[in-house]
Symmetry: C2
Subunit: 139 residues, 2 copies
DNA sequence: ACAAAACGGTTGCAAATGCAACTTGTTGTG
DNA sequence: CACAACAAGTTGCATTTGCAACCGTTTTGT
């Protein structure tokens, strides 16, 4: 089963990679950070880590790169000075919208490949699995 | 959806990793190669690549490491001199059996977490997705 | 029959990754 | 209030990775 799910995951990744990578020169993690920042408006690196289940060093470097590209802006935290609050720049918002479009198109394509009901089923099962595993590993 | 499946895949990987990694010092790819070689008795690197959908350089290095550990044996091809045929050593077979046990136990655990029917469903959907994606990307 | 293309496998190298140590700032406890 | 434990984020370093170039071998087209 690990085999199975990994293969499916890799295939999915590889299939969508061209969009953000060849199209905009972003790494997978960079795109994720961009997407999450876009969805949450203002968010800390830490929360991105929690949401995306990513290493904090990975996120940190992705953020640096995105800031260097002028896609994301950091604003030192108001209350807690350790926290760097992240927001999209205008340019970042544009890119987020643009890739977001493609992402939705891709999702739609997947859905049409599997059929809508099976697609929904799969989503269900995956989240279930994820949750089950998370509580299996007490960390 | 890419998010979803990747998270689930990573969670699954992380949950089983300790067995081969902490227990036997194998990388994920090494374990895969060992498993596939065990299942097919005698197989070439190339076929492992095809079956596991892995990079050939990754497989090559994993094989080298396994040979160095005395788990796998290479025998230069008979007909085609390019091919290196891989077989498990006695030690390799033992390890394969041993980890295989744990793998089955892990699979059983997953199955009990999801319920047998949902588990089967998930397998179905994952292979479907994988197939669909493979033909979506003409390569 | 022979040059060109293709193939199995290895290797070099730049980039990505994981982990732990570290910096700076916060919180809790005596 | 001081001091230890802890948290956010960064960075250094060893290892892994992906990609492309490469070597010897086989197949293909003409």
């Amino acid at each position: 089963m690990p085999f199975l799910i990994n293969q499916a995951a890799e295939a999915t990744s590889k299939a969508f990679q061209p969009v953000y990578r060849d199209g905009y020169g972003l790494s997978r993690t960079q795109w994720r950070v961009l997407a999450i920042t876009g969805r949450y408006q203002a968010i800390s690196s830490r929360d991105i880590c929690l949401i995306a289940h990513e290493e904090k060093s990975r996120v940190s470097r992705a953020v640096s790169a995105l800031v260097a590209e002028g896609l994301i802006e950091k604003s030192g935290g108001e209350v807690d000075k350790r926290i760097e609050l992240l927001t999209l720049s205008a340019k970042g918002r544009d890119l987020y919208q643009e890739i977001g479009q493609s992402a939705q198109a891709f999702d739609a394509k997947l859905q049409s490949l599997l059929g809508p009901d099976r697609d929904a089923q799969l989503r269900d099962l995956l989240t279930d699995l994820h949750v089950a595993l998370d509580q299996l590993t007490p960390k």
